[in-house]
Structure formats: C-alpha cells, structure tokens
C-alpha cells in the first residue's frame, strides 16, 4: 500500500530515440517553482523494489509555461534499460526535484563557453536557452565518440541552437577530442567562463586547461546517489578545501562545482 507522492506528479508525454541508446523524454510536469540550469531530478518510474532507488537526471529543458520537463537519458545499466522498456506515453512518473545547485553567474555579460561530452550535453541545452533568453553571448561545443551517439544537429536547430560538434572518429563536425577544441577556444576567443558536463576524464582535462588559461570553470559532476537531498552522505566526491581534501555531497553542495576545487587525483573508480 503506497500512496502517490504528494509533490506534483509527472506524466510521460513522449519518448523518442535521439541517438543510439539515448532517448529524449518530454514529461508533463506542473513546475511549482522555476528550476535553474544545472539542477537535476530524482526519477522514479515504477512501484516495485527492484531496481530500488530513484535515478538522477539533469534537467535538459524546462518549459514552465507549458508545464514540461525534458530529460535526455542514455541507457547505462539496469535502471535506465528498465525505464526505457517500460516508458509509454501516459505513464506516471514520480519526480523529486528540482535538486542541487545550478551553474553560477548565468547573468554575466562576457562570453560563456559551454562544453558537453556525450549525454553530458543534457543540462547545457537548458543553460544555452537561458543565456539566449537573456540575450547574452555563448558558444557551445559538443564532443562524442561518434555521430551515432549524439543527437543530430537538427535536434538543436529545431530549438534555434547551433552547437559546434567534435567527434573522435570525425563522423560529425571536427575530428578530435572536445578538449582539443576547448584549448583552441581558450586561446582564440578568451571566454570569461566555462561550463562543462560530461565524462570525468574530459572534465579533469577541462579543469586543467581552464586553470592554465585562468578562466573560471564550473563542472557538473555525477555520482551514485541514494536520497538526492543531502540526507545519506552517500554521493560524496573529493573536494579541496585549502590544503585539506574533504568529501562533499554531489546532490546538495553540487552537482555543479568550481573546477578549481575538484580533486580528480583522488577520484573514485580511477585506478592508481
């Protein structure tokens, strides 16, 4: 016996594949307060106990007027496979959020550089739309292994956005790594700030480059989560605090952290 969550419920309106193993979900969701780019939701899509926990996903796009929440979800394991398998229009979704801290300084006048690796592009769409809404300059780079793993340019064009692509196999945009392009941008365009989300090695390199060029950068990090609200201390990552390294919760103190303080040398899962 379990009642509906009292916070507003969501209803899946549409789920379409936009790349290999990657789906865009449009969810009818009556936003109570406008979310900010970089925030995430904890999603529950069934009432069973296996998989047990919710799964965290960045807010890909929020349309408060139409009452829509967009998610961009890559199938990464059991939970996401189950979600995609069960996902049919009309399905009820239990959404906890918006959670976490957003990308800072979105109102800044200078050129903002957005760097997304793979499905890490998800929160940057929201950020890009926010910069555009305010009439502020930005450039957006999207990197991936190959074209099949990224939503096609039309996906972004239909929303009036034109990010620049870079792929490892050269199948879309330039051939190379997103961070190669980042370096060139840092050299040539002198952005006033970098916002990045993607795989940890990309973020680690981005943070290093930004430090080298003395450009502030903000990284959206991931971690396995249980509560998502700061109650369990389960989702921590190593953050430098002066000389000391302390564990900070991705769900509450993050997911966006200042690239200066993230300690990638002690990152979990990176073998010594």
């Amino acid at each position: 016996m379990e009642s509906r969550n009292n916070s507003p419920g969501g209803r899946l309106k549409e789920m379409v594949a936009v790349a290999r193993n990657c789906y865009r979900l449009i969810i009818e969701y009556p936003w109570l307060a406008p979310p900010q780019p970089g925030q995430f939701v904890q999603l529950r899509w069934h009432r069973g106990t296996d998989p047990l926990l919710r799964r965290p996903f960045s807010i890909h796009r929020a349309d408060c007027r139409r009452g829509e929440l967009w998610l961009l979800i890559q199938v990464a394991g059991r939970g996401t496979a189950d979600l995609v398998e069960r996902g049919t229009p009309g399905m009820e979704l239990d959404i906890l959020g918006p959670l976490g801290r957003s990308f800072p300084h979105l109102e800044e006048e200078g050129l903002a550089l957005l760097l997304g690796g793979g499905v890490g592009l998800a929160p940057l769409l929201f950020l890009a739309e926010e910069r555009r809404r305010r009439g502020l300059p930005f450039r957006w780079l999207i990197g991936g292994a190959g074209a099949d793993l990224l939503p096609p340019p039309e996906y972004f064009l239909s929303l009036g956005l034109s990010p620049q692509f870079v792929t490892e196999d050269g199948s879309l945009g330039e051939k190379g790594l997103a961070t190669d392009l980042l370096q060139r941008f840092l050299e040539e365009e002198r952005p006033s700030r970098v916002h990045a989300c993607g795989p940890v090695p990309m973020l680690a390199t981005a943070a290093k480059l930004c430090r080298q060029f003395r450009v502030p950068c903000h990284l959206s990090l991931e971690s396995f989560m249980a509560c998502g609200v700061g109650a369990c201390q389960g989702c921590v990552v190593p953050i430098r605090h002066g000389e000391k390294v302390e564990y900070r919760r991705v769900c509450l103190e993050g997911p966006v952290f200042d690239g200066e303080v993230v300690d990638f040398e002690q990152w979990p899962g990176i073998d010594p």
């Binding site: 016996m1 969550n5 009292n6 106990t49 906890l96 396995f224 249980a226 109650a231 509450l252």
Partner: protein, 307 residues
C-alpha cells in the same frame, strides 16, 4: 496529516504521536527532508550517528544498489558533537517529532563523553547508542558482538546519561539475544534493531570490490525477513520495548514488525525511494486498524506470537 488517537505511544519515556521513526543515517540531521515530507507523521527522528571528533567518512564510492537493497559504506561521516551542539541543535524542537541522537565511538570513554554532553540538552529527547555500525573499522562491530562488552559499555553510558537510552544492536554476533539481554541488564530503556548487514559487491569489469572501503552495510527490503526474525527473538527475551527496522516501505511491512513484538518501527532506506513514506505508513496503519476492528495499534504488538 492528522495521525489520530490510535497511534500514540510512549517509547522509553518519550511521548510520540506515531510509532514511526526515521532511522539513523537516513534522515541526516532532521532538516534535509523538510521540503519533501510531512513531518507530523513521524513519532521521532533519529539523527545521524555522531562521534566526539568530526569524521571525514569512507572514500567513495560509498553506495551500490543490490537486488531490492542498498549497500552503503558512509563510515559515519559527521561534524562531531561540538558542532552538533552549537550549529545543529538550536531549533530542532521546532521540527515537531521527538529528536533522538544516534551516537557512536571507538572506545567506551568516547561514547561516555558524547553521551554526557547530551545530558540535559532539551532539544534532544533521547539517545540511541550505536554499538553496531559495520562501517567503522576500529571498534564499532566489536562493541556489539560481545555481551560482556555491551554490558560494560551500556552501563557506563547509563551512568552519565539519565534520559531515554536506546541501544542499537548488531546481528553480527550471530546470537542477538544474549547481547539484547546484556543491554537491558545494563540499563537500556529500549532496543533498536536491526542495523545493516555486512556485504560486498564485486565489479567484474574492474575486478575489485565496488565500494571504496570494500565492504558495506546492506539495508532495504532485501533484509526485511531477517529483521522480522530478529525482532521476534529479541521481543520475546526482553521486557523493554523494541524498535524494529529493516526494509520497511509500507504499512504492511511495518505491521509484520508490530505483530512480531516491536513497539515502534524505524524507516531508513525507503525514504530515499519515497520521501512521503511516513504519511503512507500512518494512512495505511490507520486503515488496517479500522478494517480489522482495532482501536489502538498497541493491540497488535506481539499479536503474532500469542497463539
């Protein structure tokens, strides 16, 4: 939500509006769920295990999901008792539910120092002595497994703390009843059980354990039958009340614990999945009482054993 007259109790001297407690370590320091939960449905919040000194906790990853379960190795990350008293304590009484602070340590002196600092603190209605954390290497589990040590530890805490004293038991001992009896004899007012069960998950791609500290404590529905059995055994052996926990997600789950002999139940992992779990439990239990002709949930405590 109005929890109604059939759910009230007095646990170890602490009056409560419902027999539902938020389990330690799963509800932070009590305020984290304010935007998401109806606090009027909790009888008490058991706050995060707190030690004398601040603890940084275990290296990540600290969590991994298992079939209907969660394996965690937080390592008692907490800011220490001084910080708790200065920064966290003020205003806790305004949350509504009774407040119980879970305490831990690596030596009997440490437990006693923490407990004595809580003597007479009005925002904290009682303490829960965790003698069973599986994620602290030094001490921890050792305290919980040996009845003689448990008696000494609980007796020592009893001397410095006069308020309601709960003792949280481990199943690591194999035999939980002798430990429960030792805690009762030493002056515990109530017993909480069970804590998580030690487990391991191995990442076959990296060919090493997933958790940064190798092992962790298993919680969630996967451990529920083990917990119900433990509550059954302990409730039969002791006279003091038992707070049952382990995998409770719904009122039906909680009812098993009451019927086995628990006076109250605590809910941990289920909060992560359903932050409204307390309201669901109140609603579900109230309906069960109505449908089955009971006036007070008290009538159900231990009812499964009276036949």
């Amino acid at each position: 939500m109005n929890s109604g007259p059939g759910l009230t109790l007095n646990l170890a001297g602490i009056p409560m509006k419902t027999p539902f407690l938020a389990a330690s370590g799963c509800y932070g320091y009590g305020r984290e769920y304010l935007p998401w939960a109806d606090y009027s449905c909790w009888g008490a919040l058991v706050l995060k295990g707190t030690t004398r000194e601040p603890r940084g906790g275990n290296p990540p990853p600290r969590l991994v999901e298992t079939p209907s379960g969660l394996l965690n190795a937080i390592g008692l990350q907490n800011p220490g008792i001084d910080y708790f008293l200065k920064q966290i304590r003020p205003g806790l009484e305004e949350l509504g539910p009774a407040i119980i602070l879970n305490i831990a340590g690596e030596s009997i002196e440490e437990y006693c120092q923490v407990a004595s600092l809580l003597e007479g603190v009005k925002e904290v209605d009682g303490i829960e002595v965790n003698i069973s954390c599986p994620n602290v290497r030094k001490g921890g589990v050792h305290f919980g497994t040996d009845p003689a040590v448990v008696e000494e530890l609980v007796g020592a805490v009893r001397e410095v703390y006069s308020g309601p004293l709960l003792v949280k038991l481990s199943l690591e001992a194999g035999q939980i009843v002798p430990v429960a009896l030792a805690a009762e004899k030493a002056g515990a007012d109530a017993l909480s059980l069970i804590n998580t069960l030690r487990g391991m998950v191995i990442d076959i791609h990296r060919r090493r354990p997933v958790l940064g500290s190798l092992t962790g404590g298993l919680s969630g529905p996967a451990i529920r039958p083990v917990a119900v059995r433990a509550v059954w055994e302990v409730a039969e052996a002791v006279k003091i009340p038992v707070v049952g926990m382990g995998g409770i997600c719904t009122a039906e789950d909680a009812l098993q614990f009451f019927l086995a002999g628990a006076t109250a139940v605590a809910v941990g992992t289920a909060n992560f999945v359903n932050p409204r779990v307390a309201s669901d439990l109140v609603r579900g239990l109230t309906r069960y009482l109505q449908e089955n002709g009971f006036k007070h949930y008290r009538e159900l405590i231990g009812a499964a054993r009276n036949r």
